[in-house]
């Protein structure tokens, strides 16, 4: 009876057990993440201090400009409609009127929005301090919604100042939009903002953030927990439902934020957002045919099919630099001499082939180390350096 039990136990463990995979890698990822967060927290503290300084500066500018206008006998309200002011009250300057005519010749109406008014953001900075530039250049331009009330039809144009320049609009307590420069910010009839930049724009609404982008070499990041939706009729991607405070950032080819999302477009493009070994996240759109090479270069990611939407794939961060070999329909992820995972190249049919950790160098000689291979049904050939290994499923060796 004991023999039978032991035999059954062996059968169960070799044929029906799926152990948690690669613990050490998980730990390494955790450690890297904790260190990155620690570093980020320090950075945030420094940034907070810098923000406080800038805010004080902006407030001083506003106060000065209001004082100037009041002394000049000019009073505006925020929406541009003059109204009576209670005696002794101080109201913020009406930017739309204050800036009327300022550098209008530089502004270009956005496509389909020819009736909108445009104001160079730089002029706003100069006029009222309602928008300000981060010290160190004109890459980041911030606009405080409490200081500047967007009205339907109102627009701002972000000046062009380099390929990686970004305009950052903070709207109320929990809404953020960021646009690649050059961008035009439009306030739609319903009060929502639209950032236009050729094929790229982001819309900031009351509670969600949406972003559409042409699939090119652009990257974008959304907050963890956000979803990316595929718009099937176009080669575009939407990112919505950022929560609780959506952070939407756009940049070309640089590590900019946290998160891990990806989507596969119907046309065969794969858009990847991934967590780097430092805990930061970058993204890249890749053509499926180039996936293996790009993955190897970019140290990305494994792909699996999403349960919720057949057109969406999720990408999970590679915790440490790994090599990726492509052979046939499979991608082989390795680190050093260890084979970490094998997955189908096609995300739509992604299937976990091998669980656990395999050792590249030991594959040929030590089949028992391969472990449980619940879903593995056919021999796989693995190229490793100048060696070729044929890995045969345990069930096949028994036969």
């Amino acid at each position: 009876m004991e023999d039978r039990f032991e035999e059954n136990l062996r059968t169960l463990l070799t044929r029906a057990y799926e152990p948690p995979p690669y613990r050490q890698e998980f730990y390494d990822a955790l450690l890297a993440r904790l260190k990155a967060e620690q570093k980020q927290r320090k950075g945030e503290l420094l940034a907070q201090a810098a923000r406080r300084k800038r805010l004080a500066f902006a407030v001083a500018l506003i106060a000065a400009s209001v004082a100037l206008m009041v002394s000049a006998g000019v009073m505006f309200n925020i929406s541009g409609r003059p109204r009576e002011m209670p005696a002794g009250a101080v109201e913020r300057a009406d930017i739309s009127q204050a800036l009327a005519g300022v550098e209008r010749d530089r502004a270009q109406p956005a496509k389909g929005e020819s009736s909108a008014r445009f104001y160079p953001l730089r002029a706003i900075c100069a006029a009222g301090g309602l928008a300000y530039q981060i010290p160190g250049g004109d890459k980041w331009l911030c606009l405080d919604a409490e200081a500047f009330d967007f009205q339907p039809g109102m627009s701002l144009q972000v000046p062009s100042s380099g390929s990686n320049a970004i305009a950052h609009f903070r709207l109320g307590n929990d809404q953020t939009a960021v646009a690649l420069q050059p961008a035009t910010v439009l306030c739609n009839d319903d009060g929502r903002l639209t950032l236009l930049n050729g094929g790229l724009y982001a819309t900031v609404g009351a509670r969600d953030v949406a972003l559409e982008m042409a699939v090119a070499d652009r990257c974008f990041i959304v907050a963890p927990g956000s979803e990316i939706f595929v718009k099937k009729e176009a080669k575009s991607v939407y990112a919505v439902k950022g929560e609780p405070a959506p952070q939407l950032m756009v940049m070309k080819g640089e590590v900019i934020a946290r998160g891990a999302l990806a989507t596969r477009l119907p046309a065969g493009y794969l858009f990847l957002l991934y967590e780097s070994p430092t805990g930061a996240v970058a993204g890249q759109s890749l053509e499926e045919t180039e996936l293996a090479f790009d993955v190897r270069m970019q140290d990305i990611a494994t792909v699996s099919a999403s349960r919720s939407r057949d057109a969406v794939a999720s990408v999970h961060a590679m915790r440490r630099p790994r090599e990726v070999l492509a052979l046939g329909d499979y991608l082989f992820f390795a680190q050093g001499d260890r084979l970490l995972d094998i997955r189908c190249r096609e995300s739509a049919a992604a299937e976990r082939i091998v669980s656990g950790t395999l050792r590249f160098g030991a594959l040929a000689a030590a089949y028992p180390e391969i472990g449980p291979l619940a879903n593995w049904r056919c021999p796989i050939v693995v190229l490793c350096g100048d060696m070729v290994y044929e890995i045969v499923p345990a069930s096949a060796t028994k036969d």
């Binding site: 152990p19 613990r23 669980s355 028992p368």
Partner: protein
């Protein structure tokens, strides 16, 4: 879920968390490896048996545990229970995003009754091929293993999956063969009892 705990685990956990709260990296690593297996097993069946989602939740949970290590109080419950509590919010969020997966208890409640009968008596009858093909059986076996103490599950893996001899295991663990043999017997017994409990039966 059935849990097997060593006598000194509780004290060791408290000390470990205190060190972790003080920023001891070695303590973090020890803590992680002590609880990874169990936490993974817990989460796995609650996120639709999806390894990727499990990884996410487990990682997030450990990050949360590190952040709040100093807040842990042993009198409120075991570290394991604390970790599970921390993981629940993550699981809930993920399930809300992905659509609620099948409850883990139902994973093997869908076992074919014939297979169920065979499993209930699996120390006396050979397991048929049809049973081994069952997804639910895989879930049950994995859940059983994740319920065992790390030392037991590791030992069973070495013995039956890696196919190591008692002598080889003893060399790796730096123990005597007799000690390994005894521990293997206890591990097998723990597996059998846990397996039966999870299946709905009574411990042997």
């Amino acid at each position: 879920m059935v849990r097997w705990r060593h006598k000194n685990e509780k004290n060791a956990d408290e000390a470990l968390l205190a060190r972790m709260a003080a920023g001891d990296e070695a303590a973090l690593e020890e803590f992680y490896h002590r609880y990874f297996h169990r936490l993974y097993g817990y989460v796995f069946y609650r996120v639709g048996r999806d390894h990727h989602h499990t990884e996410e939740v487990v990682n997030d949970t450990f990050v949360e545990a590190v952040r709040h290590a100093s807040e842990y109080r042993a009198e409120r419950g075991s570290v394991e229970a604390w970790l599970i509590t921390l993981s629940r919010n993550r699981i809930r969020s993920l399930n809300a995003l992905m659509g609620k997966p099948l409850a883990y208890e139902k994973s093997w409640s869908m076992l074919d009754s014939e297979i169920e009968n065979i499993l209930a008596d699996f120390d006396a009858r050979a397991l048929p091929e049809s049973a081994l093909e069952s997804e639910e059986l895989r879930a049950l076996v994995t859940a059983t293993m994740s319920s065992l103490p790390e030392s037991y599950s590791r030992l069973l893996e070495m013995k039956y999956i890696s196919n190591l001899s008692v002598r080889q295991i003893a060399a790796i663990l730096k123990k005597t063969e007799k000690a390994v043999d005894g521990q293997l017997t206890r591990a097998r017994m723990a597996f059998r009892e846990t397996f039966k409990i999870l299946l709905g039966g009574m411990p042997a």
